[in-house]
């Protein structure tokens, strides 16, 4: 506003100074001499300005005291020239297409010029991040960074996606990358960081890039760098974004009431007909099914008597039967167009000696499921100052408070609205009905009464009796209050002879205070008058390091060396308490509740101490060599084995700097590089796994008790990675085509495996470092400025990743079947070992599966037979969940001031086991919904179909098998963003330096091989019933003031 007023005043002054002015003319061209039309030409510090014509020329009358003209346009750098005494000023603009030599990469304990770097990394800048309207930065990276694969993270508000860098590095320990925020290992909440505050995300991939993080670097490192004030520029940026979210993956098609009743009748009838040893006639079975089907399903939504619903002769619905009521549970529990608001403001400035940035932000999103949502306030302050010519110091602080309203979205519990609404048979209403199908109204409130599926209402609903999530989720509470704060400070001292010293202290505080309240009126806790659990999880991470550095140039040689020490401490305090017996509804606090049901608290500590060093050497800025070393000691392991050494070596050759290359004009940059190194993965479950422990808290009444919790495991150690990387960076055709190609081989050894023990010894397994696997692959990143005209730009960015995951050493050649996997040498960690569906027996509708014929030695002979008993079927390998190729393509178009970008991500190959679909294809479980595919079931001898016979209570024919294994390939239009940049001249007239309005769609369209399936749900290709991902349509405006 102040700017606006100033502008207005300037305008008034301008009119008052008509007498003292002069006219300047000139031409604006790009670095190739082409005219730049529509460029803004403004007198610096005023709103006086104009725009260039089609030929790039301009004429501007300026006040006589004007000293400088500023020209700006899309795709070029701003340029200033002093007015001086002449009247002609020509401008040659420099394209903003980046010159590789200027790019600086964030690396452990510092930064390095990209051209001098021997490691593998990808940096994503704020420009790429800001077009996506997501709450956690982890959701933005998929499709932008080669070498990673990511889940979609589901749709629960305030959550992020999971990322894996260069394959899956572990089987039983974590494969999660290490996150580093502004130079310190970060254990806080990533979703608590404002996207607007993030300047760059640097994904470090090979040993040369990561090994300086030693025992924690094994799965790659993601460095988050926050924005800072820029020297010589004061900026006020405000963002307002309003979005609307709806589910991006459609629900499975499920059968309606009529089909449901007929099908259930058939399943009921078949249960009589196909029971072992049954002698009942078809007619008798038909009649019996007609007589009992309504009793079995309990609810009769028709206007005919229970035994008149299905015609026993045809198995069809009585033509006189009309449906009395029909409710859609998804309509009432899942909403579309849930609002999301994201606003933020940041103020930054910088002088020669100091810089400053502060920002405030708020994200408020309502989940696409009722009763869920996320509201987060963030604040940040970054300050740096060169206090004296030898002392620099700075402080950064950021904090977030967030409130997350959750619904229980995991697993098959009937409190999970996604599972519940999907699996609920269509005949069960949300609201209680009377015999005529009319709503039953509450006599006091007059409101419709919810049906809980209990005897006192419409009967015991066979699916999830005594529950109604619309009622209970509203009364229940599952919320999480999160506080997340980071404070970091450092002192940097310049010492003589090229030495420097930097010490930094970082602290991250995270606190989650969780309430889980089950209401006192209905559902799981009504019989105990409500149950509430309060749980707090408080985490404090501190990192304190001291780094001595030395930089020396002698002749053409450049040497940079650092040595340091670091101590890291993670402290976690967990406490929770549960009480029941609430006096009246409306409170979830424990004080009024009568009965203590349980409480506990404990503390965990994890410490790492490290010594490290690194040397980077460059000769003529052309021959590059690097080496790093880190010695880590971690409290996770036994004292005799807890110290380990990690290192890397790397080399690079900037061929383009060689004199013999200087004549090749189309080649701007070519560097080849290679690195090798070892790092570790110490993040296994539990902090004290080496110790033989008795677990406390096994109290018997009022007497304290303990049981043996673990066996001593002194040899236990981190997993180890040996990483080889060969890469090339290039820039061609005047930097219009830039790219990187990398080959990597990541060999992970000493992998933890549960070494099986005889369960009769009291323990069934112990962890041992016994396995190995490799992730070998290639990744390509290309950026091409296809068209670079004054009015029109088109840039394509493509990245592709292919990797192969192979188990190379296992405790035994083939591990026992565990879940849907049976690890074997040469197979991948996500290779399916499941039973093989052999179709349906046309004579009786049995589901058939393959079974090995065993020889006299009990081993498979190689011959197979068919069985109709799934439990007897044999397991076979059926491919894996790891895609052959993943990637992302970004197209960015600019026409004048309009910019349109579209990010498409895709995955080819890789299979997905759809457990949701499996649940919807049961053979006739009373009350449970059915996929419409069930309509194609086998019905009579001779039917040729892939859907077996219906039969209630038949438990041996349906389950995990290749019947539910599908191609997991997908193509996701992940983000489309259309923005309009206000012309500078217009912007400056209203007091802004820059303005942008935009609209975007995140998760616009997902193409999969089957409707309802969510193949990006997990890395291992398994489905779950949790929160589906959402599509967000956003409109927003960004205002920059200077």
């Amino acid at each position: 506003m102040r700017k606006l007023l100033l502008g207005l005043m300037a305008f008034l002054l301008f009119t008052g100074q008509l007498l003292a002015q002069k006219t300047i003319t000139g031409k604006v061209t790009d670095d190739k001499g082409n005219p730049v039309p529509n460029a803004s030409v403004v007198v610096k510090g005023t709103s006086t300005g104009t725009t260039t014509k089609a030929d790039g020329s301009y004429t501007l009358t300026v006040p006589s005291n004007a000293s400088t003209l500023v020209v700006s346009s899309i795709g070029v750098r701003d340029q200033e020239l002093s007015i001086g005494s002449g009247s002609v000023l020509n401008f040659t603009m420099v394209s903003t297409a980046q010159d590789l030599g200027e790019v600086v990469v964030t690396v452990p304990y510092g930064t390095i010029k990209k051209t001098s770097f021997t490691g593998a990394e990808t940096t994503v800048g704020s420009k790429q991040l800001e077009s996506q309207n997501v709450t956690s930065v982890t959701r933005a990276l998929d499709g932008l960074v080669p070498g990673i694969i990511a889940t979609n993270g589901g749709g629960a508000p305030g959550t992020g996606a999971s990322i894996r860098i260069r394959g899956i590095g572990s089987v039983n320990a974590s494969s999660e990358p290490l996150y580093v925020l502004d130079g310190a290992v970060y254990n806080g909440s990533i979703a608590a960081l404002s996207m607007d505050d993030i300047a760059t995300v640097t994904v470090l991939k090979d040993a040369a890039a990561t090994s300086l993080y030693g025992a924690r670097a094994g799965n790659g490192v993601i460095m988050l760098t926050s924005k800072k004030g820029v020297k010589g520029r004061t900026n006020v940026t405000a963002n307002v974004r309003q979005g609307y979210m709806s589910r991006s993956i459609p629900e499975y098609d499920r059968v309606g009431i009529k089909d449901y009743y007929e099908l259930m009748w058939e399943g009921n009838r078949n249960a009589l007909l196909y029971a072992p040893g049954a002698t009942i006639s078809m007619a008798a079975a038909n009649q019996a099914a007609t007589n009992t089907i309504a009793t079995s399903l309990v609810y009769n939504p028709f206007d005919v008597a229970d035994d008149q619903i299905i015609d026993p002769a045809t198995g069809k619905l009585n033509p006189n039967a009309n449906i009395l009521y029909q409710d859609d549970w998804q309509d009432v529990l899942i909403r579309s167009g849930a609002p999301r608001r994201d606003v933020g403001i940041s103020i930054s400035t910088g002088t020669d000696k100091s810089d400053f940035l502060m920002s405030l932000g708020n994200v408020d999103e309502e989940g696409i499921t009722k009763f869920s949502g996320y509201n987060r306030y963030t604040a940040r302050l970054n300050m740096n100052t060169q206090a004296t010519n030898w002392l620099k110091t700075g402080l950064s602080f950021d904090g977030a408070v967030a409130r997350q309203l959750n619904v229980p979205s995991g697993g098959t519990a009937t409190t999970n609205p996604f599972y519940y609404t999907r699996m609920m048979g269509p005949i069960y209403p949300v609201w209680q009905r009377d015999a005529e199908g009319a709503f039953v109204l509450d006599p006091t409130t007059g409101e419709r009464v919810l049906d809980y599926g209990i005897p006192s209402q419409m009967g015991t609903r066979p699916y999830a009796g005594n529950s109604n999530l619309l009622g209970t989720l509203e009364l229940d509470k599952r919320n999480n209050k999160i506080a997340n704060a980071n404070a970091a400070t450092y002192i940097e001292i310049k010492l003589p002879a090229g030495f420097g010293f930097r010490t930094a202290f970082n602290a991250t505080f995270y606190d989650a205070y969780q309430t889980t309240y089950q209401n006192s009126q209905f559902g799981d806790a009504d019989n105990v008058s409500g149950r509430s659990t309060k749980a707090t999880n408080r985490q404090l991470t501190t990192t304190f390091n001291q780094v001595l550095s030395w930089t020396k140039d002698f002749g053409a040689n450049n040497l940079r060396v650092l040595a340091g020490h670091e101590s890291y401490e993670f402290t976690q305090n967990v406490a929770n308490a549960t009480r029941t017996g609430f006096p009246f509804p409306g409170t979830d606090e424990l004080a009024p509740a009568a009965v203590a049901e349980g409480s506990t608290s404990y503390e965990n500590k994890h410490r790492i101490e490290s010594y490290f060093g690194q040397a980077n050497y460059a000769l003529n800025d052309r021959y590059l060599a690097s080496a790093s070393f880190r010695r880590d000691g971690t409290s996770r392991f036994y004292k005799d084995v807890r110290w380990g050494n990690f290192y890397s070596v790397g080399a690079g050759w900037r061929i383009s700097q060689e004199s013999f290359m200087q004549n090749i004009n189309w080649l701007n940059e070519l560097k080849i590089r290679a690195s090798y190194g070892e790092n570790g993965n110490e993040s296994l479950e539990g902090f004290y796994k080496w110790q033989a422990l008795y677990d406390l808290g096994w109290n018997n009444g009022n007497a304290p008790g303990a049981v043996q919790g673990s066996l001593a495991n002194e040899p236990l150690l981190w997993e180890k990675n040996k990483v080889t990387n060969i890469g090339a960076d290039f820039a061609l055709f005047n930097n219009r085509l830039q790219g990187t190609i990398e080959w990597f081989n990541r060999a992970s050894g000493d992998l933890l495996f549960p070494f099986p023990l005889a369960p009769s010894t009291g323990f069934s397994e112990i962890s041992r470092n016994i396995g190995s696997l490799t992730n070998k692959g290639i990744e390509v990143q290309l950026g091409y400025n296809l068209i670079s005209k004054a009015d029109f730009d088109w840039r394509i960015d493509v990245n592709l990743t292919h990797f192969e995951n192979r188990l190379t050493k296992l405790p035994q050649e083939t591990m026992p079947q565990a879940g849907n996997n049976k690890y074997r040498l040469g197979g991948s960690v996500f290779e399916y070992s499941i039973k093989e569906f052999a179709g349906v027996d046309a004579s009786n509708g049995d589901a058939l599966y393959y079974q090995d014929i065993l020889g006299t030695d009990g081993k498979p002979t190689g011959e197979r037979k068919l069985t109709n008993n799934l439990t007897q079927a044999s397991f076979y390998y059926h491919g894996d969940a790891i895609p052959d190729l993943t990637g992302g393509v970004t197209n960015t178009f600019r026409y004048k001031n309009f910019t349109l970008s579209a990010l498409v991500t895709f995955s080819v190959g890789g299979k997905f086991l759809d457990g949701n679909y499996l649940s919807l294809m049961h053979p006739g479980s009373y009350g449970t919904a059915w996929s419409t595919d069930i309509l194609n079931r086998w019905q009579k001898p001779g039917d040729v179909t892939n859907i077996p016979r219906l039969q209630n209570a038949l438990t041996t024919q349906n389950g995990t098998s290749t019947r539910y294994l599908f191609d997991g390939s997908y193509l996701n239009i992940k983000n489309i963003n259309l923005s309009y940049n206000l012309p500078r001249s217009v912007a400056s007239k209203i007091g802004m330096s820059n303005g942008r309005i935009f609209t975007s769609v995140d998760n616009a369209v997902l193409f999969t091989t089957r409707k309802g399936m969510d193949p990006q749900r997990s890395f291992d290709g398994s489905s779950d019933w949790s929160y589906p991902p959402y599509r967000t349509i956003t409109v927003g405006i960004q205002v920059n003031l200077q």
Partner: protein, 492 residues
């Protein structure tokens, strides 16, 4: 001056870099666990381990169908003739009732979890037995702790051998279950049934010696009476009739039988304070496992799974054999009075003391059973029928004062004792164990009020005597990872 400053600074930094952290910086330990050696330094610590051993037997683990001893007891009843499952409900214990859960050899099946659970009990008992002798404290406490651990080990082995093999008599040389008398990581072979019973008898006899004259701090601890009672069960199974009779009599010393009114009180079978109880687990609100608890699966008033379809009912066949004047008949819903939540024949015997609270103790042994063991053991000895009738009448008349065993002798007397045993101990975990012990076939009555539609489908109605389908399967991980066993050791 400036040089001085630099030197000072450099020196400070070097110190910072080189010194590092304190020596014990990396030694961390948990706050919710302690080292094994710490536990067994004193008898006080020994009691901590002992209490943990008991808690292990009534806590829930893995899922809502596993809550220690009572989930196994419920399985034994569901595999018998007298307990009917109303409807599929949430599916818990459906496949136990249908026998498929015990015929599956995976680690997570009822067979697998029974195996790992009971061996967890054995291992924790073995830790106590191996370490308690060196604990400082009063010798009486050491004996008390060790005696209870020995009896607990015997109790676990008794369940193991009964689940994974046919009864003792006639099968003495058949494969047993691996026998561990001290903590080890080395797997043991199956051995024989005789080996297992020999160890059980030795453990119980030693326990009785160690526990005699000691007082227990809570009824959830095993005392001499309890050890005698366990010994009586074992003797009955081994058909050592004189021993069974004397041990049973020793077990019920000092107890008072419930009268009819007390028998039907809400807390008769859920309150450890009951004077007829010899042993039980005291489950307070905090230690109750809520939905994953015995009463969740039994009592329709808890709002647990029993009220959500899997109501447990007595067969009409057995119900009709209870005299109308017998107070025990009120333990079941009279036909014609039922509702869908609380149907005809639904059990009302085993319920929580007060609905609204999950605090409900678990019954493990009571005097009624001991009188019935005594009666059966006397009747089977021959020539002791009068004493047998007295023992029988003592317990039944407490509930049903007009009861008389008349002048029954011989086989009819034994049959009467066994009938009364089925009525008296319905739902307390003896169902299939008695069928196996008595070498009877599985014979589930059908027709209205009995097994089969409209009740939940039991899948199996009859099984011949000592059919292999009675046997739990040894979990595959045991066969694969126990060096002393192979796949050939699996039950037929």
């Amino acid at each position: 001056m400036k040089n001085m400053l630099y030197k000072l600074l450099s020196a400070t930094m070097l110190i910072l870099v080189l010194v590092g952290c304190k020596k014990d910086y990396l030694d961390t330990s948990p706050t919710d666990s302690v080292a094994l050696e710490t536990v067994f330094q004193t008898t006080d610590g020994g009691y901590v381990a002992l209490n943990g051993l008991y808690r292990l037997q009534f806590t829930s683990y893995v899922d809502h169908g596993n809550f220690g001893q009572k989930s196994l007891d419920l399985t034994f009843d569901l595999m018998g003739n007298d307990m009917v499952v109303n409807l599929q409900g949430y599916g818990w214990f459906n496949t136990e009732y249908q026998y498929s859960a015990i015929q599956t050899n995976t680690a997570g099946s009822r067979s697998g979890l029974t195996w790992s659970y009971l061996y967890m009990v054995v291992n924790n008992a073995n830790q106590i037995i191996a370490n308690i002798d060196n604990a400082s404290g009063a010798p009486d406490d050491r004996d008390n702790i060790k005696g209870q651990a020995l009896a607990t080990r015997a109790y676990a082995y008794y369940d193991l051998i009964n689940a994974f093999q046919q009864t003792y008599k006639g099968n003495e040389s058949k494969p047993g279950v691996p026998l561990y008398t001290e903590p080890t990581s080395e797997g043991k072979p199956r051995g024989t049934v005789q080996d297992v019973y020999t160890q059980i008898v030795a453990d119980l006899d030693e326990a009785i010696t160690l526990l005699t004259g000691k007082t227990r701090i809570t009824k959830s601890h095993i005392n001499a009476n309890t050890a005698h009672g366990l010994r009586a069960r074992v003797a009955l199974t081994m058909e050592d009739w004189p021993k069974a009779a004397t041990e049973a009599a020793a077990a019920y010393q000092g107890t008072t039988l419930m009268n009819g009114e007390e028998y039907n009180a809400a807390d008769a079978f859920s309150s450890i304070g009951n004077s007829e109880w010899i042993w039980g687990f005291e489950v307070n609100t905090e230690q109750a496992t809520i939905y994953a608890s015995f009463f969740s699966h039994m009592d329709v008033a808890t709002g647990g799974y029993a009220s959500l379809g899997t109501q447990k009912k007595i067969t009409k066949a057995l119900y009709d054999q209870i005299n109308d004047d017998d107070a025990r008949k009120s333990g079941f819903r009279a036909p014609g009075t039922g509702t869908s939540a609380y149907p005809d024949y639904n059990q009302n015997k085993l319920r929580v003391p007060s609905p609204g609270s999950w605090a409900a103790d678990y019954i493990l042994m009571r005097a009624g059973e001991m009188y019935l063991i005594e009666a059966e053991a006397l009747a089977r000895q021959g020539g002791q029928d009068a004493a047998a009738r007295t023992a029988l009448e003592t317990v039944i008349q407490a509930r049903y004062p007009d009861y008389s065993a008349g002048s029954l002798t011989g086989a009819p007397l034994i049959d009467e004792i066994l009938l009364q045993r089925r009525i008296e101990l319905w739902g307390e975990g003896f169902g299939v164990l008695d069928i196996k012990r008595l070498k009877q076939p599985l014979n589930r009555p059908t027709g209205a009020g009995n097994h089969g539609a409209p009740n939940f489908n039991p899948r199996i109605y009859t099984l011949p005597v000592e059919d292999p389908q009675f046997l739990f399967r040894i979990p595959q991980p045991e066969l694969s990872n126990n060096a002393s066993m192979t796949d050939a050791d699996q039950n037929p």
